[in-house]
Amino acid sequence: MNWFDWLNSFLSDPAHRSGPDSIANRVLEHLAFSAEALALAALVAVPLGLLIGYTGRGLFLTTAFAGVARALPTLGLVTLTVLLAGVGDVAVLVPLTALAAPPLLVAAAEGVRGTDPDVRDAARGIGLTHPQTLFQVCVPAALPTMLAGARTAAVQVIATATVAAYVGLGGLGRYVIDGLATRNFPTTVGGAVLVVLLAVLVQLLFALLIRFASPPGTRTVRVDDHAGTPALQKESI
């Protein structure tokens, strides 16, 4: 039960070097699911969140909705979608998008909401229209919060995309589930480690993005060191 041996045998297995079951292919599949889900979720959640945050209406509903969405079990959503829509990327995209949307929605709403009302008034005062105020004033100020929400969503999606494998699709979950079925611990462990590495890499990437997105003046205000901790959401698989 030596972890190094396991990882070693996982990496040196020829099936994992090239071909459909190769590490490179599975990582790409996994990233593809995750990226598609995040993009779809952002498309829906961010505009809605900006609107809610700017008008200040529906904020309570948003947090309530996010809370409920957090409770939906991904395994349930995936199996249901497959039964209704057949095995295919849709089966996985629907639950993953549903998972990623709430943090993005809440982050956008809270971020815009948190803009200093005096600054908003000033913007209106100098003649900016509402959309201009939103996009030229509120959004840049909200960007760090929104990116933090995106980071949470991304980590959650990456961890949960492992569930795609239960219904026969690809991604790193393939290693976890196939390893479980064939009692091949090295494969399962290898898959798990890769998911963690991917999640950590993505977190670092977002940390950098947040750094650059913060207007220089606000960089001195440290984003609370555990606002980005996955404490707020976890994969639902």
Partner: protein, 304 residues
Amino acid sequence: MTTRLLRTATAAVLLLGAAACSSSGGGDPLAAGSSAPASAASGKTVVVGSANFPENVLLASIYSQALKAKGVKVEEKFNIGSREVLYGQLQSGALTVLPEYNGALLGYLDAKSTAAGTTAVNAELKAKLPAGLAILDSSAAEDKDSLTVTQETADKLGLKSIADLAGKAQDLAVGGPPEFKSRREQQFKDAYGLTFKEWKPTGDTTANALKDNTVQLGNVFTTDPKIVQLKLVSLADPKNVFSVQNVTPLVNQAGLDATGTAALNAVSAKLDTAGLTALMKRVAIDKEDPAAVAKDWLKSSGLS
């Protein structure tokens, strides 16, 4: 004053609840007994396990209720995983009884075995099983792995048996549970000289994957009612790769006494393929509970 008391009381209740739950090992409304490995003494609990597909759950339920009818204490652990996971648990005694398929079990223990027919397979099994494990009587009921195709594929490629795949296999994809590839890839190569284009882990969606042409060949279990429902065709297996697959109880001898053995053998005596297929239709198509279907069968067979 009262709010303070209320606050302390609430905190105390929450903490006590935590202590109570964790110390009693978690009140478990579903388990009948402890999950510790069974020890060798009579009057102990027999743990009936099953693999993660509905037919095995049904068979395990039949065994479990047959044992209960004869006064044996039973704990059920169904839908756990594949043989690769279950076998070790049976050896350690964490599970006592598993519904097995003799040919597949023999293949798991000795991939090179060429035994054919129930008698030969069972004789080899008795020789190859480690000390402490044993098979009881086999039933006539069989549920085999298969290579199944849609009617269209069979017509298009002129397929009646697996041997007809020669020369065509390299363009075809095979679906099945994740362990299908690791178990069968070499066997198909050795017996029929076939190498397939790819192996997709379609698991429980195999029958439908055949219909959508995600895979052209699939491992659909022969008692699966979807074969009839979706008009699929199972290819003949002249080289006997899939061997015989009689439903046979595999037991950890230390955990089962004579009463239990007799009860399970009585079940094997009455179970046949037609009966099993009919039961599976009730479970998989009519969506009846495996436990209820098992109960009916036991009653109509005079075993409960």
